[in-house]
Symmetry: C2
Amino acid sequence: MSSIAQKFETLRTDNAPGQEARQQAESLDRVMKGEALCGRPVDFSHGDVDAFEPTPGAFETFCEGVRAGGRQAYTEYRGKEEIREALAGRLATFTGAPLSGAQELILTPGTQGALFLAIASTVGTGDKVAIVQPDYFANRKLVQFFDGEICPVQLDYLSGNERAGLDLNELEDAFRAGVRVFIFSNPSNPTGAIYSPHEIRTIAELADRYGVTVIADQLYSRLHYSDGGPYTHLRAVASAENVVTIMGPSKTESLSGYRLGAAFGPAGIIERMERLQAIVSLRAAGYNQSVLRTWLAEPEGWLEERIRLHQNIRDDLLATLREGGGIRVRTPQAGSYLFAKMPELTVSPLDFVRILRHQADVIVTPGSEFSPHALDSVRLNFSQDHAAAKAAVERIVVLADRYRK
Amino acid sequence: MSSIAQKFETLRTDNAPGQEARQQAESLDRVMKGEALCGRPVDFSHGDVDAFEPTPGAFETFCEGVRAGGRQAYTEYRGKEEIREALAGRLATFTGAPLSGAQELILTPGTQGALFLAIASTVGTGDKVAIVQPDYFANRKLVQFFDGEICPVQLDYLSGNERAGLDLNELEDAFRAGVRVFIFSNPSNPTGAIYSPHEIRTIAELADRYGVTVIADQLYSRLHYSDGGPYTHLRAVASAENVVTIMGPSKTESLSGYRLGAAFGPAGIIERMERLQAIVSLRAAGYNQSVLRTWLAEPEGWLEERIRLHQNIRDDLLATLREGGGIRVRTPQAGSYLFAKMPELTVSPLDFVRILRHQADVIVTPGSEFSPHALDSVRLNFSQDHAAAKAAVERIVVLADRYRK
């Protein structure tokens, strides 16, 4: 196999969220037991943007962008200056550290675009990169794509809610061994854990001591539950030259259909990201950028209400999942993901995921996407219609019980 | 300098189209002569989407996409199936060869996104890649980014309109020397040349003989002038496994603000491109994909009228440029670019480009972006307001004369 063929072998997306439609329907007959369970189909692989309305004014602001014509269609590769300037102020307030819209911020096609550019701009061939297990699956794939060397650090996320559970000794060992870049999501995707102030300060100190660049994916940091404990923005406590932060309007705001993201950090890295964006996608779609005028500027009370509704769904699903006794799950402190560890089953983890689809009309993302040590877990995005999600989780519990060893 | 720092040094965008706003205003006082010329500013670095209306129904179709909600916001990474299926039929008709919407087509964030994914999916470290000089600047930068080895092939575009002017012997020499991938734009960006049927058939034959994958950027192939001669689609005459074709609604349709592109070719390469898109940007913005329902399906007569208006601008600008006698330019056969070779000047080519901006309020893209052998040329996108473009080109002619050696 050629080197490029091998590289693409590591990028398989067959089990990635949203790609289930492309899976070949192989026979599960050998392993399936009992009847199918009826209920409204639920796709937990991503949030249901029909369940939660987009932020007020987002569509109208898009339309104004179209009416503005050329000056909104063509922007600098890093995004329209006036939008960056306005956004920088709001991001500085939200994250607790100053930010230059002119030099330290780039708008991207979705937060995936921001993550891609940030990793491409900091990871060279053979560079050691620390990633967390479990964590967002693209982190691993991106490091592999740029021929970086992965140094995994474990997250003991089931040991309690006081801390996310990052193994800080393992992290320092990795940094000491020559890690150049550390990538992590906070709140954690897939577990919903928030890193404690102590964990964040330790990451900042270690990054400073060992000269490591940290890419902090804070996509879901706005959807912060009332019982979630404190949230510490890494950039507020770390040296400014060490941290690239990634955010964007997405599931929280139900704006995923516009594909918008933002990365902010040291001017030098943002400059590299812009140079690369010029050959990757030119820019976030010009008209779509206009929608960012409404972001972090929603009507008073809007975010609180959205958090409250998600927290209610979360609590209902957690109660259901914990009923059976065999399923273990951490209480998400922020975001709309939960990561449920199944009991020992008579079928393989991937077959169980397919069984959920075929016998319960429920789509979940297998744990293998997030960590080689989480094969027995599944991720659910619970930004869904409340009743449908609750019923779907009841079906998961029934099937976990049916296939229990 | 580290390897990654060097890599980004080759990706400088200071003179790239649309980035002029970020240039530091260094003093031109030493070299400037005479007074500034008055006139409405014209930015020839890209088309003016305000001069030509977007295709009828595009905006309304976008709005329907937003109203469709989740099923339009989240699509497969390669794009929404129903849109791909419909588009495949129209692309097959346009290019003259069958196409499977399910297996051989991917939707991307702009044609830049398609080009990035196509090159990333075919060019590995050390692979030899043939590119044309002059040609679209991103081709070179993308090959360099993926550590490919560039084998330039010259385009003698000023030798007449019967053929684009590709040096077919040089191309075969390059293929014989081990080139794996050949990238070219047809119509040529920046020259507006259309490759002749003989040139296209020879490219197809050579690709077949030497097992070369060809990436054909046909972005501007719809804007084909009545006197432009025949246009041959490479995929209609080549082996299906050799060719990736790139198109998209852009300047022709005034839809650049939506950032949409499409790549179509062998299922194996499209599959790789999808895997990569999953970590680069996930997908073309879901709502925006909806706009593709109108593409290649415009009302009768719409395209002909758009071509006629552009042809009129083209002819006026060519007449003005050729008046002075010192400027050489090929008659564009398709697309909205023209590439004008300046007479010998008393100032450096890059200073002349800056002088045009400061003394004539005219932005052009320097030839150095397209070829190391075209430093004395400038590219103009003439999809502009007719009268303003004509007046701006008159100012270019005056200044070319003023600074002539």
